[in-house]
Each structure stands twice: as C-alpha cells, then as structure tokens.
C-alpha cells in the first residue's frame, strides 16, 4: 500500500466520524495546551532567573579569590589560602577556554570636593583589558598609572553624580541644587583620602601614635558608562597606582599588596565556564561564577518545572486514554470492514499502519491546535500575570516538541488498538452479523 493512500484512507476514516474525531482531537488540544502552558511558565521562570543574574554580571566571567573552603569527610570546614599573583595569572592564561584575565584589587575611600564628600568603592584594574569585561566609559578616557606629584588618575562611577552620593558632612544635605541637578560633576576638583578623620574629625586628633592619612589630588579622566554590570558601581584606577596608595595607607586600608584581591577570568563562551571553573578550583582557589549560581537556582526551579509539567501531563494522559478509547470503539465498529479488507488483500502491517496513522492524525491536529491555543493563552497570561512576576514563554523547541510529543503520545495510545485490528480474523467479513 502506498504511503499516500494510507494517509488518505486514514484521514477519510476519521472524517467519516467527524464529531467523534473532533471530540478526541479536542481532548488532545486541551492536553497539549495545558502541558505547553505549564511548561512555558516553568521556562518563563527560568528565563526571568537568568535575566536577573545576567544583570549582575557576565555569564562568561569567573571571579577567582585566594580563599577556598572545603568540607572534609568528618564534616570539618577548612579554609585554605593561596597566593594570587602575576605568576598565577600567567598560569590561568594557559587553561583552555580562557579568553582574557583581569586582576583587580578593591578598596574604599573618601572623595572630597569642596564642602562635599562621598564614600566610594575603588577598583584597581588592568585598564588595557577593561573593555573586554564590559567596563566602558561614558566620557573621557581610562586612568593612567601615573602617580607623579601625588596626583592620581581616576574614573568615577556613573552613579556617583547621578544619585547624589556627594553630601555635606556637616549638614547631611545632598549635593544637588533646587532642580535636582548634581552640584558636583566630574570636572570638579577632587581629593582622595583613606583616613576618615581627615573628613569627619579634627585634623591631628587621630589615634595615638598614628600618622594621619594623606590627602591625594585626584584627576578625573572620565566617567564609566551605566552598563548595569557588576563593575558599574566602582570608581576605576590603575591597579598599580591603587596598590601604591594602599601601601602608603596600610594603617587605614587592609590590603595585602603582594597579592591581587581577585582575578576575573573571562572564558571564550558559556560552555567553557564549567571546565575552566573546575580547573581553577582544583588548583586550590576559590571561585565564583554566575553560572554556578544559575545552576543551583536551576536545580530548585527544576522541581517546580516538573510539578508544572506533571499537572499539564495529567490532562494529556486523559486525552491519551481518550484516543485509545476512540480507536478501540472504532475497531469494534469496523470489525467487519477490517475483515473485508483483509480478505481483499490488505496486509497486516497496512492495517496496523492505517490505525496508527489515524491516531497520529489525532495527535497532529490536537497538537497543532493545542499549540495555537497555548500561544493565545500565553499572550493572555503574560498580560494578566505581568505584575505577579510570572511569565509564560514558548520557545520554538517547545512548540515543535509539543506537537511531536502529542503525535508520539497518540501513536502510543493507538498502538494497542492497531495491534488488535491487525490480529482480527478475516472470517469476520464472511460471517453475517
């Protein structure tokens, strides 16, 4: 029997019993759409989670610290420390999947501009690779490493002026004028200190025996772009310049200048992160990467996804039983007809094939219509769920997967009836009634 004839005959057989076929398809529509909508909510959850993480930084970055902790067999928590130096950076560069590496140290300081002061976080970086980590400037240029005459280059964080971090320590007033415009801008004059008594206390009355911290002139070379990544709230300095400052102020800032605080490793792509992360961990360093967090969150989201899928699956199961019922009914009704076509020379495999094709049609139509219903529901849900933070998303693979799955489910439901039909005796055709 030609495949095209099989498709046509099977379709006509369904068409002949339109209402029943329609009702069975309807069951499949409900089954498919409920599973698709449920899964789409799960996918929406995951997408929202990944999006919120990706706002926190790049997916391809691994932050390496000197400290790693482990729990041994007895449940004892041990913490180990390793050197993180230029040498280590060279070692990291050899790991396959590593694209570029940026060592950094971070500290905080106080910036004074006229009456106003602001507490800032400063990040010392290798400015030559900064752009590869999404550190870009809205204005100006990257800070140089020069330290001549006690003047240091700095790039201010974009937030610093925008949100009025500068304030008057005496009155507590923010440095904004009546219209809300910042009074301090990046071309103002700035001084930097790490000794809070320089700002808040009387000069000289610092703790006994301690020389007061110096005030450094700052030369603002630019402002970072508000990129919304993990670096955007830092002010930037050259790492060597910042190290020098840290050394001079070791009474106030507690930085081990012989080591980097952290090294940020950028991988070639997200797939490489896992292996690079493992290699670095095995070297004895502590690591953090968004991917690891995402994986952990995914574990917990998966549970919800399974639950949602199972809820949808129940209606699909009911629909599958519906198909089986329809096909069995149809076999009882058509016992004689099946006998006749067997006598007329229809092969067993063709009979089974015809019934399976009928089931597959139900799955196909149910799946396709169900998908249409799902897209509609998804749009409606997204309209009404927007506030609740729920989100329904139907990616292409879900769409195709759903139709394929409903055809598969229909085929499985049709398998037993098809075998029954195949085994029917041709004598049924000859017996009268």
């Amino acid at each position: 029997m030609k495949f095209s004839d099989m498709l046509r005959t099977a379709f006509l057989n369904l068409w002949r019993r339109k209402l029943r076929a329609f009702l069975t398809v309807l069951g499949m529509v409900i089954g498919t759409s409920s599973i698709v909508v449920m899964v789409s909510l799960g996918i929406g959850m995951r997408e929202a989670m990944i999006e919120s993480y990706s706002q926190m930084g790049s997916m391809t970055n691994i932050t390496v610290t000197r400290w790693s902790s482990s729990v041994d067999a007895n449940g004892n928590y041990t913490s180990t420390e390793k050197d993180l130096t230029k040498k280590t950076v060279e070692q990291f560069k050899l790991i396959p999947g590593v694209e570029v590496i940026m060592p950094r140290i971070t500290t905080w300081g106080m910036v004074k501009s006229g009456r106003y002061v602001a507490d800032i976080s400063i990040m010392g970086i290798d400015t030559s690779v900064a752009s590869e980590f999404g550190i870009t400037l809205a204005e100006g240029e990257m800070p140089s490493a020069r330290t001549t005459g006690g003047t240091y280059d700095i790039v201010f964080g974009s937030d610093l002026f925008q949100y009025g971090y500068f304030y008057d320590p005496n009155t507590g007033k923010q440095a904004v004028d009546k219209d809300g415009n910042p009074k301090v801008t990046w071309d103002s004059r700035f001084q930097l200190t790490f000794d809070s008594s320089n700002i808040y206390g009387n000069p000289g009355d610092s703790m006994e025996g301690r020389t007061p911290g110096k005030m450094y002139r700052l030369n603002a070379t630019g402002v970072t772009a508000a990129s919304g990544n993990e670096f955007s709230y830092y002010c930037l300095m050259d790492i060597e310049a910042l190290k020098k400052l840290a050394k001079e102020n070791k009474d106030f800032v507690n930085i081990d200048t012989s080591n980097y605080n952290e090294v940020i490793v950028k991988c070639t792509d997200t797939d490489a992160v896992e292996s690079v992360n493992k290699t670095i961990k095995d070297m004895g360093y502590g690591t953090q990467c968004l991917q690891e967090w995402i994986e952990q969150s995914e574990q917990s989201i998966k549970q919800t996804q399974y639950l949602l899928g199972a809820i949808g699956g129940v209606s699909l199961l009911v629909a599958a039983i519906g198909i089986m019922n329809t096909m069995m009914m149809s076999i009882y009704e058509r016992t004689k007809e099946i006998g006749i076509i067997k006598v007329l020379g229809c092969r067993m495999s063709n009979i089974a094939g015809m019934f399976l094709t009928e089931s597959a049609y139900i799955g196909l139509f149910g799946g396709a219509l169900g998908l249409g219903v799902s897209y509609t529901l998804s749009i409606v849900l997204n309209k009404f769920l927007a506030q609740s933070g729920m989100h329904s998303s139907i990616p292409l693979y879900l769409a195709f997967g759903a139709v394929a799955f409903s055809i598969l489910v229909a085929l499985i439901s049709g398998l037993y009836p098809a075998i029954r039909a195949m085994r029917l005796s041709p004598l049924a055709a000859i017996r009268n009634e």
Binding site: K2, L344, I430
Partner: protein, 248 residues
Amino acid sequence: MEQVPLIEVRNVTKVYHVGSVDVHALRGINLTINRGDICCIIGRSGSGKSTLLNVLAGLEHVTSGEIVIAGKRLDKMTQSELIVFRQKHVGFIFQSFNLMPYYTALENVAFPLSFRGVPARKRNALAREALKTMGLATHMKHKPSQMSGGQQQRVGIARALVTDPEIVFADEPTGNLDSNTSDDVMNSICDVMRAQNKTLVMVTHDPHMAEFADKVIQILDGKVVSIEYNDHSDSKKKTDVKQGVETA
C-alpha cells in the same frame, strides 16, 4: 481443454472446538480442481461447504492435511503469507456483497488495488474497465445504497476480478438475491470467468445454481460424496468417490 491441476486438497480435516465439544466440519477432503474449472460446492446446511471454501481461500487454517494451490502449500503459511498469497492469486465474492458503503462503485472496485500499491490513476482505469465488463458503465459514481442487490453484487464481482486473480472464490454469491436476479448474476459470473479463463470455486446450497457450473462437488458431513460434471449440452457424467479415488 488441457487439465492442469490448480488446487489440490489432500486429506483435509477441520475440527472446531466449541467448549468441550469437537465439531468435525471437514473429515478428510480429497479433491482436485483444474485451471479454468467453473466448479460448485453443494451440500446441506452445516455440511462444511463454507469451511472448505474458507480453508481453500486461506482464511482459515486446516487441522490436518495439505492444500496446494499454484504449487504453494497453504497449510504451511502464516497469516501474513496468506494475505500476500491472496493478493497475488485470489479474488473473493461475498454473499452479502460487503461493499464499503461510503465508497462509490468505482472506489469500491479500485479499493483492493490500493492494497497492492497500484497508483490511483491506474487503479481507476482498471476499475472502470472491470465495471464496464459487468455492465455497470452508468453506475460508477453510485454508492452501494443507490444500487439494487444485483447491481451491488456485480460491483462485488468487478472488485474480485479487478486484481486479475487466477482463482475466484464465492460463498453463496446469490444468497441475498431473488431468483431472477440470481440467474442474471450467475450468468454474469460464469460468462466472465469463462471469457477470462479463470478458475471459480463457488458454494451454494441451491441445486439450480449448481447447474451453471461445469463441475459440481457434493459434500455431506464434511466429506465429498460425489463429483458431477455438467457439459452444458445436458448429458451428465457422474463420478463416485471412494476413499478419495476418482473413477471415471
């Protein structure tokens, strides 16, 4: 006409088990049917005619004995082998016509060809030809419900012949028709079989119908009791059968 054996039946028995009772439907049938024979199996109700026809057509397995058709052992075949065998060699005419009610005459006749993978265009051409032979050129688009019993059975005959089988089996082909129509249909069947030199094995309980055949096999209680030849010039020969040996 040369006598080439087409169907050979040797010691065939068929036992049905109904509950704890064994029903011996066939008790050792021996017979030979030659190529081109128009033959008729006749006997009382319950004598085993249909059972014999069904085992010959490969619709049922025998309990013991051999059936050789066109050199092939039917009793050794599986169900799917039997279907392939039927596709190649066998046409079937039913008592109650058994046309597909939702198909037109043309579609009904073309139907068996679709199981043999014949493309639609060729199917319809062959079906049209077969219907014309049966005198139904004007009824191709009619559904079974729009045709008389005689016309329906002609469609049934066309359907049996469209695949060009060597042998056609018919179980009481006129059983559902009135006597006038029966004669017409029997004439149609026998004429077309003779014209196309096909072998016909037909079952009936009506002696009048048996007159159309060349060879009349009478069975009683699952045994062949006599084989008669009609030469249609009204002189009858009679052969008695004892232990399966034919004596002229």
